[in-house]
């Protein structure tokens, strides 16, 4: 158990270090997310009194798209550089590799969110600094990263990987999208009474799919 944690930390550290040196992912993801939010301002009316519901939708669409971009690229880079194969040669439990990748992806997406949300708040004059929102962001991103990491590794082994990843992810992640957008809307409009079910849904989803992905990952990467 302790060894697994140690291995996971090394994996995460390797990904972070790679990113800091190459700056391949984060910059693109961040710019993409903010641009999407800005574009939404023109697609929907995000300046009116009812901007909270549309705004939370815009926010999460931006995170989803940026997240998929990041996931796709990160796995593709790993494959093309051969680092995934190198990783698989190490005597590490496959499930542990999955967890390492999952946490790494989770951190990247969270970083993008942490910086995008204040910008969103400033652009649209919405108060976002509430603890419950942080919780929703956390739970949503965990679910997104858990499923996304698994599906991205699969998609990367296919012919049309940029198309394959969204096609796989969107149906599976629908509950997360619905739950996060609804929860965010409730928080932004101050109706936190109904928040419970959505948080429960997200929590259950996260646990369930983390477990499934952890178990199944080995069969996905074997060749």
């Amino acid at each position: 158990m302790k060894r697994a944690v140690g291995q996971i930390s090394i994996l995460i550290w390797k990904d972070l270090l790679t990113e800091v040196r190459t700056k391949d992912l984060f910059g693109g993801m961040f710019v993409f997310a903010v641009l999407t939010i800005v574009t939404f301002n023109f697609a929907f009316d995000l300046t009116g009194v009812n901007r909270a519901p549309s705004g939370s939708g815009a926010l999460w669409v931006a995170f989803n798209f940026a997240g998929m971009l990041g996931l796709g690229r990160s796995i593709a880079l790993e494959r093309d550089r051969g680092s995934l194969d190198g990783l698989l040669l190490c005597p590490v439990d496959r499930g542990t590799i999955y967890l390492g990748k999952f946490v790494g992806n989770f951190l990247f997406i969270t970083l993008v969110e942490v910086i995008s949300v204040p910008i969103f708040a400033a652009l649209f004059n919405i108060n976002v600094f509430q603890l419950s929102l942080l919780l929703v962001l956390l739970l949503g991103t965990v679910g997104f990263a858990a499923v996304g990491t698994l599906l991205a590794v699969m998609a990367a082994s296919t012919r049309s990987r940029e198309v394959m990843l969204p096609v796989l992810m969107f149906p599976i992640l629908l509950p997360v999208v619905i739950a996060t957008v609804r929860a965010t809307t409730l928080i932004l409009t101050g109706q936190t009474a109904d928040l419970g079910p959505w948080l429960n849904l997200l929590g259950a989803y996260d646990l369930l799919f983390l477990l499934i992905a952890y178990v199944v990952f080995e069969r996905v990467v074997e060749e």
Binding site: V147, L150, M154, S157, T158, R159, S160, M164, V167, L168, F170, P171, I172, L174, P175, I178, A179, R182, D194, P197, W198, L201, A204, Y205, L208, F209, I212, V216, R219, V220, E222, E223
Partner: protein, 243 residues
């Protein structure tokens, strides 16, 4: 060389019997649904679409359940037979899901006045359709056989577990944020309608079983053919080398 002809002939006869049984049951069920059962007081004759719509929805989800189980078995046991079962059931499931969506629209239009509505059941069925589609897209783009089988098994497993969660989330989305409300007639179904529905349910399940027998046989033969082709090619290559 002794032929297993009696055994295989019996198997194919069994398959045909199943098909016949399915056809007869469906015929009876449709008679019951279209003629015997009374016309619905509220919805008129369009309500009779239910007698094919509901059983086909049942089959669509049953087929997906089979894909789920076969996927687990394949990942666990690695025997190709499970993948043959999985992809056969997935194809049949896709066909029936498509029909469910179409018949649902033709039921909805006269009753609700709209071809589509985002209620939990229809939306979940639409998502099921997309998951089935992604199943086959993944198979098509995965390249080699084993990878396609492994990957699609994973999607089958994840997708099946996700379906009830999708249903719940869409349902809550609708109830906590109410849209137009469409309720089917709350009154209990008279016995004649129930009978028609059950017989049609049985008929379509038998039809699913028959289609599975057919399709599974095809997929199994396809795999064997590919194996033999590879073996032939290898044999030729060896012959060329040693010659």
């Amino acid at each position: 060389m002794a032929i297993n002809r009696p055994r295989s002939a019996r198997k194919s006869n069994g398959g045909m019997m199943l098909g016949l049984l399915a056809g007869v049951t469906l015929a009876i069920g449709l008679y019951l649904g279209l003629v015997y059962a009374p016309e619905d007081a509220v919805q008129g004759n369009a309500q009779r679409i239910f007698y094919i719509h509901v059983p086909m929805a049942w089959v669509a989800f049953l087929a997906f359940f089979v894909v789920f189980c076969a996927g687990i078995m394949f990942l666990w046991k690695r025997d190709p037979i499970w993948d043959q079962i999985a992809r056969s059931s997935a194809e049949i499931g896709l066909v029936f899901t498509t029909l469910v969506l179409l018949t649902g629209s033709f039921w909805g239009r006269p009753i609700w006045g709209t071809w589509w509505t985002w209620d939990a059941r229809l939306t979940t069925t639409l998502l099921l359709w997309f998951i089935y589609l992604s199943y086959f897209m993944l198979r098509a783009y995965a390249g080699e056989r084993d990878r396609a089988a492994r990957f699609s098994a994973v999607i089958g497993i994840i997708g099946f577990i996700d379906v009830p969660i999708i249903y719940m989330s869409v349902d809550w989305w609708r109830t906590l944020h109410p849209g137009p409300v469409f309720t089917s007639s709350g009154a209990a179904m008279p016995n004649s309608m129930l009978l028609a529905m059950l017989v049609c349910l049985l008929g379509f399940t038998l039809l699913y079983a028959y289609l599975m027998v057919l399709k599974f046989g095809i997929e199994q033969s396809k795999d064997k053919l590919l194996d033999y082709q590879y073996a032939l090619a290898e044999r030729e290559a060896e012959g060329a080398v040693t010659a």
